[in-house]
Amino acid sequence: MVLQIMEPGQTGSHQNNNSIKAVGIDLGTTHSLVSIVDEQGPKILEIEGATIVPSIVALAEDQFQVGRDAKALQKKGHQHVAASVKRLMDPDIHQLKEALPKLDYLPSEAGEMARFTLGNRLSNPIEISAEILKHLKIKTQEILGEEINHAVITVPAYFSERARGATRLAAKLAGWKVLRLISEPTAAAIKFGLDQKKNGLFLIFDLGGGTFDLSILNLENNIFQVLATGGDTLLGGDDVDRLVMIDLQQRYQLETLSQTEEQGLLQVSEDLKKQLTQGEKAEKNVSFRGQNMSFSIRFEHFLTLLRPFLTKIETLLDQTFDAANLSKDTIQACVLVGGSTRLKPVQSLLEQYFGKKPLADLNPDHVVAEGAAIQARALTHGSDSLLLDVIPLSLGLETMGGIAEKIVPRNSPIPAQVTQEFTTYQDDQTAMSIHVVQGEREMASDCRTLGRFSLKGIPPLPAGFARIEVTFDVDADGLLTVSAQEKTTGVYQAIEVKPGHGLTTAEMEHMVYSGFKAAQDDMTIRVKEQEWVKLQFVLDICQKILKAQKDNLSYDTYHQLRELVTETKRLTKKDGSADLFRAYTAKLENYFRHSEEQSS
């Protein structure tokens, strides 16, 4: 059989959206994962020999080390290490110092982002997150052997607008084109729903290393409708480690620990915790302060330590059901996601709470990344399923007397577009200041400030006559744009405000134009190199075919291929680009395949 020979131009047209390869990234507090969907479904990429990459960045000898290497440096007590930065993606969060583990960051002004000292410069969480994402991009490309630019990235459902914006920026700096930010429990639900083909209401219980998320979803004929979310961005398995560590410190009388000792003891605590997922007692022998020590803990005691942690979880469950206006009895099943759901006390709590065993048949570490990969595939190739998400926290404006007026209440489906009319409260008032806030509290000062702007040029009118229409637009990523216009006089004046990330303009510029530019150039060179090597390989095969198969090829094919080979040989590595090399590889491969068919 003779295959249709495609014109060189036609090959290009086949490179439509369907050929875009996109991955799903679970950007976790302690670990990150990358997944891609192939013919068999989603699979997790094995990076540096493991499916999970530590979300740790270190600076050593003026070079950023990420993942496994950074973790090794951290274990050795290396000074310049940044970990758990995900907890600091919202600039307001670091004010809650007691809730945070002792992270090595510098205190900063309210509303500004935290800073880490890495080498001789200060780095913010966005830059560090970008380093992790860049590392994941390079590794993904190495494994898949081609340039990969598109990704769906997951964030905690309870992540604020600012933290979402910060994540998007970090991804952009790392060279990713973000197809969509989706919530972690929703990603898990996509994988769960498609696997089990179930309909009904489900609670996704996602307890990770640093964050806790709850999502109530309605699964109906491949529609994933999020009804409500709740959680705590500062609660996770790390807190359990810390509770155990403090207990060990007391029981073994280990006052004042050095940073290295603390790291060591924290590691012991984590090991003990993991041992207690099976068995009644855990024990760990390590060398500590120059002597061999045996640390142990009984399950009963562990349970007592966890009491406040479990109470917090139960309260959040109640609150989420209340906010959703749903009873817990309507839930078909509670689905476990996140490594910390392996804790026995957490599973027992849920069994008690719902009166039935939670579903633990998914791999709690992989399911979020896999769900993200499925969504990435759906967004690039189309799909029967549809995801309808909500915003986790109310968005509003400060009105008279400092009251926060909610414009888009929490759990509203997104994208959301809401318009509300306001008026002036003084005669001849010509300007109005607009303060955009996020949160559930009654007073604006207790909510998070997302931005302030003023609408000028309001025509002078008696108090209460001006009609100022304020529109809140929340896109499918949960990112907000606010605009305002005065309507009485027909004078259209609109201002758009995009909430910031708690960084100064100078910092943003520095991030965008300096350090990262160089890193991206490096990556471009690397990909170009890979494509060049591939092209040379295919070119070599084609030349061999021309020689060996001359008599078996049709006249047309032979001459067309010879022409193409000559043309390809004229390309130089210096002047070409990765895209150009890839296009020629595709053209050559087409003839090559065709000639194989002909000669066989």
């Binding site: 529609i223 759906a378 994208p415 577009q417």
Partner: protein
């Protein structure tokens, strides 16, 4: 009212012009509309004529009886607020509020009571709507009933 509100959600969701809203039908049409208009859907470039954010807003609004009643009135060209406050309704709301405040444990009982009143009000509203003979008189009656539905909806929200 903004220009975007030209579409009436009863038309958008293909709902019969009556109350209460068929929530199952509302949900199914909502899903169908989002399948065509949600920004995640690839084909939305071709068919996405209605803003997905607007569909979401109408969907949320239509789940509340008083909002649906307002859109029903708009369909018949009735707009505005009642010319006088209905004293009877105000007294009734105050009485219910008091009951809630005094006996928070009896929320379920109060809620059941409110629901009965809600159903009565909806019937009265539909009756008035079918007898729009004398437009001016009926308009005021309808607006008063709509206001009553609004109060009752607020109470239901506070109970749950």
């Amino acid at each position: 009212m903004s220009d975007a509100e030209i579409i009436n959600p009863f038309d958008l969701f293909d709902l019969p012009l009556t109350l209460p809203v068929d929530l199952e039908k509302l949900k199914n049409t909502y899903f169908e509309l989002q399948r065509q208009n949600h920004p995640d859907q690839k084909q939305s470039l071709a068919t996405g004529e209605i803003n997905a954010g607007l569909i979401n807003r109408y969907y949320t609004e239509m789940k509340k009886t008083s909002n649906a009643a307002r859109y029903l009135l708009l369909h018949y060209g009735i707009e505005g607020d009642a010319s006088t406050q209905d004293q009877e309704t105000l007294m009734e709301v105050m009485e219910l509020e008091e009951r809630l405040a005094q006996k928070p444990s009896d929320k379920a009982g109060v809620l059941a009571d409110i629901n009965v009143r809600m159903n009565q009000t909806v019937s009265a509203f539909l009756d008035a709507l079918s007898e729009k003979g004398n437009k001016e008189i009926e308009k005021d009656v309808l607006l008063k009933l709509w206001q009553r539905l609004r109060f009752l909806d607020q109470l239901i929200e506070r109970c749950s």
